[in-house]
Symmetry: C2
Subunit: 335 residues, 2 copies
DNA sequence: ATGAAAGCGCTAACAA
DNA sequence: TTGTTAGCGCTTTCAT
């Protein structure tokens, strides 16, 4: 068995209480006593037992972050930012990868394995309104990305519709008249729905038709994007002169397919992505993309869980939409 | 206060022991009793308290993973793989980002905040032999990547020297005679030293001179790689006909710099990277790279901590070097 | 198949 | 300023 406070107290000839005081930097401990206790801790190699402390204090100092996967660079970025922000408030982050599985997302909701966390930040993909009652009562939760519950949940997201509108307006402004939407129908998420709405609205506002053959269903992966565009090019449908991809992976895949088909970007086809992952800057041509301020999303989310953890429980739900920005790069630089 | 086992026991009219049995799927519980207890748990919304369980059991079911950062895609990949592997053994992973700071790496060694973990997997960058005595005794630790301690520590890495040799041999085999090494002197790590050794050995074995002007010092970032090559091209030193970059970020940066300088890859300069991150496959030209089998590294590391956690403490240290593979792609496809 | 009860290591209320 | 002590919620040994 590891050495406990009792052992230290015994060796130092003080009470457990005093040891606790020293460990927790309690003000009123006589320097000589403190010295003696520290000496004893050193000798014994004492390390406080966090489980016991948590049990007693009712807090663990840990936050759960639930993301669908690690492959999409966006989630790795989000994780990095959340870890960084959490640290400034003294939390450690425990990451759970849901694999976009409904069961596993439910598991978190119900308090599953992350039992050791004081709260969770969750990027849910498959949760439904109907799942809300499974939410463990009193367990601080912040949703990031899609807003899957109508009920009172803190949420931080980005204005998907507006952002999509900005992207498509940009394509039109550089002369595109036949704009493709790449990545519709990606599972049961509302994200794609919102972005599609933005796309439709913009075309309509510009007096352009929404052509069903330019709405390409694909999962949001790079290879998928590449495949979809390759198939499209091989078909005899007239090519688009602009592509709005639902995320950067799709866009980067598209870039590659277009190039290998001998099409020039942006001269023949202009491309806009979404997420502004690091690679977008370095791709060639570099990719115009919607940049969603991951740091701010992380900061806000962490702040919100922290408020729930420390604050009065009966707070009303907060919804935050963070800024976004269109980064114009080579993939749309024409005229 | 949350509902505890006692409450459930009371409502179900059984003892705490029985509730515990139900929760832990103990075999010998009468179906009707089990039913009644589950009913009570449902009604009360009972959730087991993990802190108490950990305190009692002496294990938390969590592993710490310490990585220098999240920006380098390699570490994100590693994290993903570790999380996946850990899960199969029932662990949850807590990620700590050290920022390559010596203090923070020491903190982990000493048992710092990750007190709640049963063991740690660590990709240490700044640890020194001298730090070893700070290691918390009995705390399971596996080093990944560089081997920083001489002492008895489990370690899983890749044969850096051999891999570097393979890379440079490949460059020579496609006709390179003036091979640059990009990314020497990257902090106090032994990784770069080993790869440099491999580089030198190979040149010598091929009867080629090791030219100091072809050893480029840079940090291992993309922008850094790009800048370094741009500077080199702008200088009046004769250009290399092959580049071995210490990692893919550097290589991808180099690719970009070469292209904007009007040089063709692989015709004018062939390029090999290290790590085989996803992007290497999708870059254009796609990047030849050393692929270090991250999954296997992760699997091995997790297996080793697990053995330490469950096994007899006096096991001797294990050192594992996992396989690597040279993925030949467009960036060296000449002849 | 189930009950009673002893702690795991720590914090904090109460005393002194 | 420090000592004493009651639990936090759970697992598990010993009974029954």
């Amino acid at each position: 068995m590891a050495v406990s406070m009792r052992d230290v107290a015994q060796l130092a000839g003080v009470s457990q209480r005093t040891v606790s005081n020293v460990v927790n930097d309690y003000q009123f401990v006589r320097p000589e006593t403190r010295e003696r206790v520290q000496q004893a801790m050193e000798t014994l190699g004492y390390v406080p037992n966090a489980a016991a402390r948590s049990l007693r204090a009712g807090r663990t100092g840990m936050l759960a972050l639930v993301i669908p996967n690690f492959e999409a660079r966006y989630f790795a970025d989000l994780a990095g930012a959340v870890i960084h922000e959490a640290e400034t408030l003294g939390y450690t982050v425990l990451i759970e990868v849901s694999g976009a599985s409904h069961d596993r997302e439910l598991g978190v909701l119900a308090g599953g394995r992350s039992q050791l966390t004081d709260g969770a930040i969750m990027s849910a993909l498959t949760l439904q309104q109907a799942d809300e009652h499974l939410r463990r009562p009193g367990y601080p939760l912040v949703l990031v990305g899609d807003l899957v519950f109508e009920g009172p949940v803190d949420h931080v997201g980005i204005p998907n519709r507006e952002a999509a509108r900005t992207a498509v307006e940009h394509l039109i402004s550089v002369g595109c008249r036949r704009v493709m939407l790449l990545g519709t129908e990606n599972g049961p998420t509302t994200t794609s729905k919102l972005r599609e709405q933005g796309y439709r609205e913009t075309l309509e506002a510009a007096g352009l038709p929404v052509l069903p053959e330019l709405l390409l269903d694909t999962e949001w992966g790079r290879q998928r994007g590449q495949d979809a565009i390759e198939r499209f090019v091989a078909s005899d449908i007239e090519l688009p002169d602009g592509i709005f991809a639902m995320n950067d992976s799709l866009a980067l895949g598209a870039l590659r397919a277009l190039r290998s088909a001998g099409l020039r970007v942006p001269e023949d086809v202009a491309v806009v992505g979404f997420d502004d992952v690091e690679e977008a800057r370095f791709a060639s041509p570099s990719l115009t993309s919607i940049s969603p301020a991951v740091e701010e999303i992380a900061r806000t989310a962490v702040r919100l869980v922290h408020e729930q953890i420390t604050g009065r429980p009966a707070r009303t739900a907060t919804h935050v939409l963070v800024e976004y920005e269109l980064k114009v790069r080579e993939s749309t630089a024409r005229q």
